[in-house]
Each structure stands twice: as structure tokens, then as C-alpha cells.
């Protein structure tokens, strides 16, 4: 049981845990914007840690998994923000508990 | 056996949409479903139980442990042909909407079949 295998398994476990967290987040959070935030968290953190974990366990696909991880880091947040912005444009309802709406202020002046 | 049944089911759904639906976009979706169903049928015909993908690599060198490559080659062709057909069909739908202003077949005289 080499050291990298142990690290690999722990990383994959963390990844799985993040997926679980975001699944719960998707269910419980009230409106689009918070739920979207949970979804992007799962794709970025969960996926990256499990991929790096697999990369650590098998040496010859380590480079590929690192490239894959950087790709996910690049694309996932962008699509998340684009989705949320589209949601805002379509005027999807915000929960009553929202405190501040930076976008309207910027839009307002 | 589930793969054959589901492939035929998807083709059935596609043909059902083609016949029943009145909306042009739904008809195009029906055609796309038929193509997807056929692709699933072709690949599942080529599958052999307990064999791996037909790509030689350092740890897979034994040719007798591989799935049939020919249906996969046919599916590659069929996917691209399906996509280009439907790109043309979508172009026709947009032009029809521009000329007739509606997506409903019943209003476009000769399309009522």
C-alpha cells in the first residue's frame, strides 16, 4: 500500500464527499442562485479531487488527469457564472431572505 | 437484451413523434430520436459479452479478447450522416417559419400528411 495509493483513496473520498454535499445543497437551497452555487462547487472541487486521486494511484495516467483537472478548473466556473447571469436576465425569483443585489446597483447607475 | 429493447423503444418513440406531433421542431426531434435509436442498435449488435474495446494498448494485446470493430465504424459514419441530415432539416424549418410564420403543420397547406 504505497503512500500515493493512500493519498489517492483519501482524495477520492473527499471528492465523493463534496458530491454528496452539493447534492444535499441542490435539494435544500431556496432559489436558483444559491442552488447554482452548490452545483458548481460539486463539479469543480469534487471532480478535481477524485481525478487527481485516480491520477496519483496510477502513474501513467497522472499527466492526463492533471490536464483534465486544469480543463475543468477553466471551464466549470465560467459556465456556472454564465448560467446564473442568464437566470438573472430571465428574472427567476430570488428568495425573500436576499440582503443585497449588487447586480441591480451596478445596473442601476 | 435490454439494449435491443431500449433501442427499438427509442426508435418507436421517434416514429410516434413523427406521426402524431404537429409542431415542426417536434418532428425534427422525432427524426433525431430515430437516428439515436439506430446508432444504439448498431453498437449493441457489435457487442460481445466480456470483451474489451478494440484498441491495442500496452496491456491489451490479445486480439481475440476484443469487441467487433465493424459496427463501431458503421456507427461513426451513421452519427455524422444523421447530424448533417438534421442540420439541413433544421435549416428548412427556419425557412418555413420565415415564409409561413407558423410551426404548425396544419397551417402549411401541403404538409398535412
Amino acid at each position: 500500500m504505497g503512500i500515493n495509493v493512500i493519498i489517492g483513496y483519501t482524495l477520492m473520498f473527499i471528492g465523493a464527499f463534496f458530491f454528496l454535499l452539493s447534492a444535499i445543497g441542490l435539494l435544500r437551497l431556496p432559489d436558483l442562485y444559491t442552488r447554482m452555487q452548490a452545483a458548481t462547487k460539486s463539479t469543480t472541487l469534487g471532480a478535481i479531487s477524485s481525478i487527481i486521486g485516480i491520477g496519483l494511484m496510477k502513474e501513467d495516467i497522472l499527466i492526463k488527469s492533471i490536464i483534465l483537472a486544469t480543463f475543468i478548473i477553466l471551464t466549470a466556473p465560467i459556465s456556472g457564472s454564465a448560467l446564473i447571469r442568464a437566470g438573472y436576465k430571465v428574472k427567476s425569483p430570488m428568495t425573500d431572505k436576499t440582503v443585497v443585489d449588487k447586480f441591480k446597483e451596478k445596473e442601476g447607475e | 437484451m435490454i439494449f435491443y429493447i431500449s433501442a427499438l423503444l427509442i426508435i418507436g418513440i421517434g416514429i410516434y413523434a413523427l406521426i402524431i406531433k404537429k409542431n415542426l421542431i417536434k418532428i425534427i426531434i422525432g427524426l433525431d430520436l430515430i437516428e439515436t435509436g439506430i446508432n444504439l442498435l448498431i453498437v449493441s449488435i457489435g457487442y460481445v459479452n466480456g470483451k474489451t474495446a478494440p484498441i491495442f494498448s500496452k496491456d491489451v494485446m490479445n486480439a481475440s479478447l476484443m469487441v467487433d470493430p465493424v459496427p463501431q465504424a458503421l456507427t461513426l459514419t451513421s452519427i455524422v450522416i444523421g447530424a448533417s441530415e438534421l442540420a439541413l432539416a433544421a435549416a428548412f424549418v427556419v425557412l418555413l417559419y420565415r415564409k409561413y410564420g407558423t410551426l404548425d403543420i396544419r397551417k402549411i397547406r401541403s404538409l398535412r400528411w
Binding site: F71, L74 | I19, M66, V70, A73, L74, S84
Partner: protein, 236 residues
Amino acid sequence: MIRKIVYGVFILIIIAAIAIFMSNYKFGVDKMDVGKYYLDNTVPQTGAANVVTSVTLFYRGFDTLGEVTVLFTAALGVAVLYFMGENKRKQKLQESNFVTKIGTRVVFPFILLTGAYIFMHGHLTPGGGFQGGALIATGFLLLYLAYEETSIDRKKFYLVEGLGGLTYVIIGLLGFFMKGSFLANVLPNGTLFDLLSGGIMLPIYIGVGLKVGSELSNIIDDLMCEVKCEEAGGEE
């Protein structure tokens, strides 16, 4: 209404007939005849590691030539149908947000790189000309979504499209003139698993990858122009 029921019954009969026909060709049973030949002597004859690519390109290369023509015809068909003459005027689109703009500028080269990687390694790893070309086309699609003033230079894309198709046909003709039969393998097979193996497959898939990439970008450019520019002047 009756016609629809007739068609419905007719189609259901076909599906039931196919199901019955398939019942005596069980799932997962080895039905290979020609497939076994391809599996056994892909490596000696073509030197490619990916058997599917060797079947699509070398043994059944004529099919893929037809498929390249199908995509070529579809691109021409869409261009003919969306042809609006010269009187096009650009319509003002929504300003897309800042994050997508910067993100696209970062990601776009990566997408092209991955697309090129996929069609360069068609004969080693899964993937090939069509998948790589489609990826490149998604890169251009991303460009269109982020910057609405993008418009690709159709002349250059037609040039790349034509050259891609021509490499395929010329390599085939080389096979014809040197070895007597179209698409015969004229280049050395090289050793397994390294980039320059696979004889004629590498140059063909480079040509096909560039061709599919530029062709699908042409189709996307027609579609995006459909969205952006209304036809000036009234309809007839």
C-alpha cells in the same frame, strides 16, 4: 386521421418484426465474420493501434470518403438555404458578460489544441478526424457566444475545407497510381504505438479533422448569421 392510424400500425409492425428478427441473434453473441479478419491483421497490415480507425479509414476507406462528402453536401445545402444575398444588416445582440469573454479567451486555444490532439492521435487512442473536427467547431461556437461581433473569414475556411478533402482524395489517388487500387497504403507502416505509425491514416485524419472543423464552423457561421442578421428588406 385514418391515414395516421394506418401509418402508426404500419410502423408498429416494422418494430415488432425487427424485434422478432433480433430474437434469434442474441445480444452479446459473437457474430463476427469479417470483424475477426480485421482484428487479427490490423497491426501487420496497417500498423495502427486503434482497430476501429483502421476499419473506418483503411479497410472501408471508401465509406468514410462518402461520409466526408455527405458532410460537404450538408454544409453546401445549409449555405444555399440560408443564402440572403448581400443585403444583410447586423442586428444588435445582448452584451455577453465579462466572465465569459475572458474565459473564452483563455479556453479557446486549449479547445483547439485538444481537437488537434484527438485527430492527430486518431490511430492510437479513441477518437479521430470527426471527433477532433467537431471539438474545433465547438471552440468556434464558444467564440460566437462570447463575442457577438465575431465573423469568421469564409474564404479561408472554404480553403481549409477544400484542402482537407483534397488530401483525402489525393492520397487515395496516390494509392491508385502507385499500387493500382484506390486508397492503397503507400506510406510505411512504422512501429506500433508511435505517432508516425499507421501508414496513410495520419495524413488522412489530419485532412479530415481540419475539413470537419472548418465545415461545421461554416454551418455554425450560417446559423449564427441567421440569428444575428435579419434579412434586410421585406419578404416576397
